[in-house]
Amino acid sequence: MNTSFSDIRKRLILGVGNDVLMDDGIGPRIVNDLQRDLPSDHFTCYQTINLGGLEILEFIRNYDEVVIIDAIKTAGGTPGDVYILTPGDFKETCHLSSFHDVSFLTALKLGDKLQYKLPEIIVIIAVEIVEDLCFGEHFSPLVQQRFEDSYIEIKSFIESFVNRCTPLAELLNYTIEYGK
């Protein structure tokens, strides 16, 4: 399928996490590195935040495509492993789950109810972490050891659509049906 340049949407690559809380800051670190390493284009925006819930809703509204990079802790997970999730098969990541106001999924439903212009596609990239309860500007040893692998995997995924005309929804073959 041919895609014209006019089909290009506004894209947001959003790193969420606290960069002074050890592994919790892996999302912002990766997004900063992506911005440094990938060629810039006119339709991709890179941002980092340490927020969730209603705040994230304000960040992602009016974008057509959003990629969120966050930390995750799963039972028995291997530090550094990368998961690519959609709101449909959403698992709790560190900043998209329990927030002071509402969860990310509730925020999306709220945005839909309030008739916000919400992204046609949202991809959540989660990196398995170890330590997010201790202040520090460095990663834990296991996450640091695997950081390069994690980064290459994520960069490869992002490269597949950044600076190209192809809509992300077309590449991944799905869109979000809000209200369901």
Partner: protein, 486 residues
């Protein structure tokens, strides 16, 4: 003894756990509230220039960054013996009022209203902000989001960023306010006042006009006779940014009033082996355990305690609502935990009115933004955070490099009170023969949700959508029955 475990807690920042121990006859034996604490912050700060802390502390928590920024800024002023010029103080307070407006709106509509507007026993799937909007209308939901955003725009304007604030520097602020910017803030503040009044009207229509809800507030298992703490101005009126900390006892009589630098004379902290979080108490009374009454050292620092500890509100419309609240609830002080939601709305109106007062103050666009600094040493800064009195205490060397830090954060003040409120709620609703279902668990949770606790912990290691798990355990700790809420 059997044990019920509720973990994790829904609609609460951080990852906490409520342990309810039952007697053999099904009655509640004891309740423990446990949270993992972020570690190493004091160490993290040591060796850094004290002026950096105001920016770093905004990263302690994504919920109350503005509070930490303000307390830190005031502590740094004290470290340098600097008294910011009037314009700088007013700009800080203006920022802070917007922070309160944004936070209190979120708390009421996303955390408190689901229990009342939708109902404490409503299905979990409906007991959220979507359920609230379903009841009060989409246009109200739009207004909630809009007013929050406008308040954040004021924070971003004055603070450089709505969350990672860079406003305060020792002795003042980085930038002033232009006349054009001031006009925009004034317009927003007028909108906040209308929205605060509207929110109080919703509370009146939905909660106060419902006999069942009023009965839950006044006669349910949600009351705790403990002392009340809050910051007051020279007239003993509520003040969030500056003043002295006043504590009134369970009968409303002044127990103490102290300046920030005196806090260690009046507040001490107890450590319990089963909790990561400390338990502050009134030093002159001493720690007498988790007990209520005049002789107990336990206090709370909440919207309700702030109103209890003050002689009134410093703005006219909030003062009227303050009087109405106490008249309805039988006079001061009020010890009904769920009245914290009402007090929070009175504070929302105060913050909105104060925002407007500051926006039209001729000094707000002044150009003198910073005081001269003196030799650095030690300093304490205190503000009222949305979740309680927030204390930052810094020590530095002669170059202003931090050598030691001590913080008493809002929720920590309420640690003992939260544990006690949970126990009373559990005792009130979990009884022999009563099926412990989701509604019952929510009524236990309502006891701590009123405090709007925030533990700023980002650990969530479970898959799925934050389930509420209820485990019945035998005396050896083995699970004999489990209920999971998805």
């Amino acid at each position: 003894m059997k044990r019920i475990t509720i973990d994790p807690i829904t609609r609460l920042e951080g990852h906490g756990k409520i342990e309810i121990f039952l007697k053999e006859n099904g009655a509640v034996e004891n309740v423990y509230f446990q949270v993992p604490e972020l570690r190493g912050f004091e160490k993290f700060c040591e060796g850094r220039p004290v002026e950096e802390l105001a920016q770093i502390v905004t990263k302690i928590c994504g919920v109350c960054p503005g509070c930490h920024h303000m307390a830190s800024g005031k502590a740094a002023d004290a470290v340098y013996g600097a008294d910011p010029p009037p314009t700088a103080k007013k700009l800080r307070e203006l920022f802070y009022m917007a922070h309160f407006v944004h936070s209190h709106i979120a708390n009421f509509y996303a955390l408190a209203a689901p229990d009342f507007v939708v109902g404490p026993s409503a299905p979990k799937g409906e007991r959220n902000i979507l359920g609230v909007i379903g009841k009060v209308g989409v246009e109200v939901g739009t207004e909630v989001i809009k007013q929050r955003r406008l308040a954040q725009e004021i924070q971003a304007l004055l603070g450089g960023h709505q969350t990672h604030v860079v406003m305060n520097i020792p002795g003042g602020v980085r930038k002033g306010l232009s006349e054009e910017e001031r006009e925009g803030v004034e317009e927003k503040a007028r909108g906040f006042i209308e929205f605060a009044k509207f929110s109080l009207k919703i509370f009146e229509d939905v909660v106060l006009d419902n006999k069942t809800y009023v009965d839950i507030i006044l006669n349910g298992p949600y009351s705790l006779k403990i002392h009340s703490m809050g910051m007051v101005d020279d007239n003993n009126k509520v003040n969030f940014y500056d003043g002295k900390v006043r504590v009134v006892d369970v009968n409303g009589k002044e127990h103490c009033k102290y300046s920030p630098e005196q806090y260690t004379d009046f507040v001490a902290e107890r450590v319990e082996p089963w909790s990561y979080l400390k338990f502050p108490y009134l030093k002159k009374i001493g720690w007498k355990g988790f007990v209520e009454g005049m002789d107990s050292g336990v206090y709370h620092a909440t919207p309700l305690s702030r109103l209890n500890a003050a002689d009134g509100m410093a703005t006219p419309m909030a003062q009227k609502e303050y009087e109405k609240m106490y008249e309805t609830l039988g006079g001061k002080p009020v010890h009904n935990t769920l009245a914290m939601h009402w007090a929070r709305l009175v504070e929302l109106l105060y913050a909105s009115e104060r925002c407007l007062e500051l926006a039209v103050d001729p000094e707000i666009t002044g150009r003198e933004l910073r005081a001269r600094l003196n030799k650095p040493s030690e300093g304490v800064g205190i503000v009222e955070a949305q979740r309680g009195t927030l204390t930052h205490h810094y020590w530095t060397d002669e170059r202003g490099i931090v050598t030691k830090v001590n913080l008493i954060v809002g929720t920590t003040n309420n640690n003992a009170a939260i544990c006690m409120s949970l126990k009373k709620a559990a005792e009130g609703v979990i009884k022999k023969g009563v099926k412990v279902d989701d509604g019952i668990l929510n009524m236990v949770e309502m006891a701590f949700r009123a405090y709007d606790p925030c533990f700023s912990c980002a650990t969530h290691s479970l898959p799925g959508e934050m389930p509420m798990i209820l485990n019945f355990r035998d005396p050896d700790g083995n699970i004999i029955r489990s209920i999971k809420r998805d």
